[in-house]
């Protein structure tokens, strides 16, 4: 379809472009209800334009509100890690680094889990179990983020602090170079725990986009591979994954975008410490956790403006990631799923 629907506007155009003739009386009976055509069209268009204004509004508001912050602190807002409401000094580095670290851990663990699950469902799963299992994975996406947070705080944190983290400190803590990541007391809360919970939260998104992508692989390709003697893993590695490469990268970016902005689950288990530490076991903070913890109690113009500037940084990061996601998925005629 090359011409726009709007200019075609259907057979309504026959009757004087949808308008009632100016004489007020047509020499033939008009379709009933024709006078609502224009208001209806304008109404739908206004509702649609609301979406653009939301998007633009968010950008403009956050940008305007954070101008004074960047004016006052300059580039050091991003490069300094001292966040001190009392002395009115704000640097977002700890939050930004925390956001990136937790998301990286989430992708590191979430992607293998999601791809493994998707490949299992696609190649190994008994047909009867398939829809049940894939629905269960999709339900992981439906569980509200605050539930993940509570579960993390009351179930994951004790396990981490009693079993996993002491073991890590004992066995990984003294390896040269890597060891510094696993040092310090086993609090349970911290960057690593937050990253692990995020990995479970982003898993369903990656898995469901991958499954949809695998479904587009032509059956003849898979059958040909099996027919020439390839085994399951060889079919996955040489047929499924290469064929759906773009979508898979899109799926991973989608997961990353989700992890970057996730708030409640992280707030519960990260510990909210504005400190840069090399150890993954130490409490830290992320942009969204800082906002969730401090915004309602923030005092003074600079403090609030700094938090809004933090929001702007988060929005810009997720915007870029989501834009890349969309490009990659559209390349395979797919869209960002709900």
């Amino acid at each position: 379809m090359s011409t726009s629907m709007e200019t075609m506007a259907g057979p309504v155009g026959i009757v004087n472009n949808g308008r009632v003739p100016e004489t007020g009386k047509a020499d033939f009976p008009l379709p009933s209800g024709i006078r609502f055509e224009k208001p209806f069209r304008i109404l739908t268009r206004l509702s649609a334009i609301l979406i653009i204004s939301m998007m633009a509004g968010i950008f403009i508001l956050l940008a305007l509100e954070s101008v004074p912050v960047f004016h006052k602190f300059g580039f050091s807002f991003i490069t300094s890690s001292s966040w001190n409401p009392v002395s009115n000094k704000f640097g977002a580095l700890a939050s930004i680094v925390g956001t990136l670290t937790t998301s990286f851990i989430a992708v590191l663990f979430g992607v293998p889990l999601a791809l493994g699950s998707a490949l299992f469902l696609n190649e190994l799963c008994p047909f009867k179990l398939r829809s049940t299992l894939s629905t269960m994975i999709e339900l992981l996406a439906a569980i509200p983020s605050i539930i993940y947070g509570m579960w993390g705080l009351f179930v994951m944190v004790p396990i981490m602090s009693h079993f996993i983290q002491p073991a890590m400190i004992k066995h990984l803590g003294h390896i040269p170079y890597v060891g510094v990541l696993f040092q310090g007391p086993p609090f349970g809360i911290g960057t690593l725990t937050a990253g692990l919970i995020l990995s479970v939260m982003i898993l369903p998104f990656i898995a469901s986009v991958s499954l949809q992508a695998f479904a587009t692989v032509p059956a003849s390709l898979r059958e040909a591979a099996y027919g020439t003697g390839a085994n399951v893993w060889e079919v996955c590695r040489n047929i499924l994954i290469p064929f759906t490469k773009t979508s898979l990268i899109g799926a991973i970016m989608l997961g990353l975008g989700r992890a970057l902005g996730e708030t409640m689950a992280v707030t519960f288990v990260i510990g909210n410490a504005h400190r840069l530490s090399v150890s993954l076991l130490a409490p830290g903070t992320t942009i969204s956790a800082t906002l969730a913890n401090e915004f309602a109690e923030a005092f003074g113009d600079t403090y609030i403006a700094s938090l809004l500037a933090l929001g702007l940084v988060l929005f810009v990061i997720t915007f870029v990631i989501l834009m890349i996601t969309r490009l990659l998925l559209l390349y395979d005629k797919r869209r960002i799923p709900i």
Partner: protein, 283 residues
Amino acid sequence: MKPDPSVLLRRRIVNYCMLVLFTVAIVISIGALTAILWKLSFSGLQAFSPDVFLKSTPAPGSSGGLLNAILGSVILIVTAMVAAIPLGVLAGTYLAEYGRTSKLGDVIRFCNDILLSAPSIIIGLFIYGIIVLPSKHFSGWAGAASLCLIAIPVIVRTSEDMLRLVPDSLREAGVALGCPYWKMIVKIGWRSARPGIMTGILLALARISGETAPLLFTSLNNQFSTLNMNVPIASLPIVIFQFAMSPYKDWQNLAWAGAFLITITVLGLSIFARQMLSTKRRP
């Protein structure tokens, strides 16, 4: 040519290892869901009593329920949906019918896709900036507005997708009979896409029911039941957040009861929505 047995063996071993890893991955994924639901039902049901629905949130140490939070959540969600459904369906209609190939339609679709996955806390900041800051106080309206902005992209997307599935021949049949374009959309488009649009609405409802982050600094919290949308209003997710993070055992128990309630609602809604789409004929 005879295949080299050592190559065959290596291929078999690699294959076997990978299959085990796939199985481990799905066991962990399903295991996570089971573990969450298990803990939730265990602790949630333990803390459950009629008081949860009959009393308001207590001070630490005394007994109470979640009445004000449940009431507040229902008010916020209903208000948000009342605004989001018409706006979302109309915008989706524009994208699927009038703006199918227009530049404006492409821009809107792009914005909608970004908003769909944008962090919900950013929406909260936006509403804080345009409602709370000018009016100088937190309010139920601000909370409802932020939930509304989160629901709209979901409804827009599903409405557009479902209307797109309606065959063009049906549309052409309608307009060929002299039906104005808007009437064709309402009587043919909306009617045949109804199950799909309803699914979108239910998904949006499920999405905003558990949403916490944008309410933190818009509707805030309230110890008492209120129907006044001009003052801060309690909501279930915020109360859960506050109570779960507290050191008091009875508050934590109430948080589990609330968490159980929310999860049952959200999972029920999304299972129902999926069912509706799969059993009722898609357009």
